[in-house]
């Protein structure tokens, strides 16, 4: 086992407010690592610090042995970290297919000077498109998105939009995937499917997953380890059994 993601004393301040304080953890390759905690505990802030949307105030973030503290989000994405958002960040006026194709953006090669190749059936442009389409079709099959392939993302039901966002994150073939409340807003059936898919993704893709989630049934059934966060501080990190029985976690969160 090797460490894929490591946080060393990550702290984030907004003016006088300490949103995240001295958080340290290591995630091993292939692990599913969940972060739980009450609203406002700093979970999403922590994700934003990891992928560079927020600038870390103190501490450092390491991805695959490389210090990525202060890297811009597009650079972090290029280094193999992908994510989804609690409130969805989709391209509303693109279809499901196009959204997923955008996840492949990093691997695309066609430029304007490849113009002649666009006219040729086996040219670079066509080959490029075919490779990416194949990859995207695999993900569409996996997440059962066939029926909404050509519909605009903004027209889809909420649960489907979440799946499109997950699909787009997978399309970029990340080594680390951050999922911010993937089950929020899903109905019971969709939640069961999500558990199934996350296990599938873990098995099929060579991937490490971090999840922020409130649904304890989902968290305990898929996580290898859990970290509980309260007021920006880590209370405890450990296996689902240890964390759910921890007195402070019960007091702060489970009630």
């Amino acid at each position: 086992m090797s460490t894929v993601l490591q946080l060393k004393g990550v702290t984030k301040r907004f003016g006088g407010l300490l949103a995240v304080e001295d958080v340290c953890f290591e995630v091993q390759k292939g692990e599913v690592f969940s972060i739980i905690g009450p609203n406002g505990a700093g979970k999403s802030t922590l994700f934003n610090c990891i992928n560079g949307l927020y600038k870390v105030s103190e501490g450092s973030v390491w991805l695959n042995g490389e210090d990525i503290t202060g890297c811009k989000p597009h650079l972090v994405a290029q280094k193999g970290l992908s994510r989804t958002f609690q409130n969805l960040e989709l391209f509303g006026k693109m279809t499901t297919m196009e959204n997923l194709m955008l996840g492949r953006h990093l691997y695309m090669k066609t430029n304007l000077w490849n113009l002649p190749s666009m006219l040729w059936k086996k040219g670079l442009a066509a080959r490029d498109e075919i490779t990416h389409r194949k990859k995207v079709e695999e993900i569409i099959d996996l997440l059962d998105l066939q029926s909404v392939r050509n519909r605009y993302a903004s027209e889809l039901p909420y649960g489907r939009q979440k799946m499109v966002e997950l699909g787009r994150a997978l399309a970029s073939e990340p080594s680390v995937l951050l999922l911010d409340e993937p089950a929020a807003g899903l109905n019971l059936e969709e939640k069961d499917e999500l558990i199934f898919w996350i296990n599938d993704i873990k098995r099929l893709f060579d991937i490490t997953i971090l999840i922020i989630e409130h649904n304890m049934r989902l968290v305990t059934s898929i996580s290898d380890r859990i970290m509980a966060l309260n007021f920006g501080k880590s209370i405890v990190t450990g296996t689902p059994d240890v964390v759910t029985k921890h007195p402070e976690v019960i007091k702060a969160y489970l009630g």
Partner: protein
């Protein structure tokens, strides 16, 4: 006769289309209606003029040189001015571009004076080509061809290339674009550059028809903007269609009704269209980007 009038309308429409396209491209990626677009084009045209008249360079070198200059000017506007604004709202940005417009207008007037100059280009204005019973000057034909070619390249760029995909993604959702590995800051800057180049092409095509002076782009710029509004600011194809409609209607009106009110009719059309369809002829309704 009517064919000839429509033809002349298409020539004017091509110029409007270029400016409208330029404005619409930057508007879509930054929500800035860049009112300096016309003056940036005028400045770039002066750069071509200097390279031709002062340095005696061949026309194509001067042309490419001025386009290169235009691209850098677009980057400059984005990085040095627009990005410097602290928490700007749409109105602030609009005022900033107006300020940049006045600055460029003054700069060109100070450097080259306000007299009318001649931009010599190797395409004739007096020699004509005839086809299908219509007569068109070589310059006008070249104007249409170059404009159409440029629009086709923009279409191919946006539709088939990696950069085009990045531009579309940035226009729709910057956060999502960033987390998919797109450097949105640079993409927006590049759209400013591309827009500026499109404007400069319009400027160089315009200058021999009118004359080269600091006022040359004011009217075409307003018409281009009007055409963009007419077509629906956020729909590139609609914007181009709007520009051709405007050019043709204006020209027909000028001949059959009144030459004096030729320019006014453009704005009259826009008022009427916006009264009945506020998002423009082909635009989708505005929803706020979050």
């Amino acid at each position: 006769m009517i064919g000839q009038l429509i033809m002349t309308g298409i020539v004017a429409g091509s110029i409007y289309a270029l400016i409208a396209l330029a404005m619409s491209l930057t508007y879509k990626s930054s929500e800035v209606a860049n009112f300096a677009q016309g003056e940036m084009a005028m400045f770039s045209t002066y750069v071509a003029f200097v390279m031709l008249a002062t340095y005696q360079l061949p026309f194509w070198v001067a042309f490419i040189g001025s386009l290169l200059f235009a691209f850098l000017l677009g980057l400059f506007l984005h990085f040095a001015i627009i990005r410097r604004a602290k928490n700007p709202n749409v109105l602030n940005l609009l005022i900033i571009t107006l300020g940049f417009q006045i600055f460029l207008y003054g700069l060109v007037g100070w450097k080259w004076g306000s007299e009318q100059r001649v931009l010599k280009i190797p395409i004739s204005q007096t020699e004509t080509v005839e086809f299908a019973g219509l007569t068109i000057s070589q310059l006008n034909l070249a104007t249409i061809l170059i404009a159409v070619l440029l629009m086709a390249s923009i279409y191919i760029l946006l539709r088939f290339t990696k950069l085009g995909l990045a531009i579309k993604a940035t226009q729709q959702n910057q956060t999502a674009a960033k987390i998919n590995g797109i450097p949105t800051k640079w993409i927006v800057a590049i759209t400013f550059g591309i827009s500026s180049v499109i404007g400069a092409v319009a400027g160089v095509l315009m200058a021999p028809i009118t004359t080269l002076d600091p006022n040359m782009m004011i009217e075409p710029m307003l018409k281009g903007f009007a055409a963009a509004v007419l077509g629906g600011f956020n729909n590139l194809a609609g914007v181009v269609a709007g520009a051709f409609i405007l050019g043709i209607v204006e020209n027909l009106f000028g001949f059959y009704v009144s030459t004096e009110f030729k320019s006014i009719v453009a704005f009259l059309i826009i008022v009427i269209v916006l009264y009945f369809k506020p998002s423009g002829l082909f635009g989708t309704h505005f929803t706020r980007k979050v």
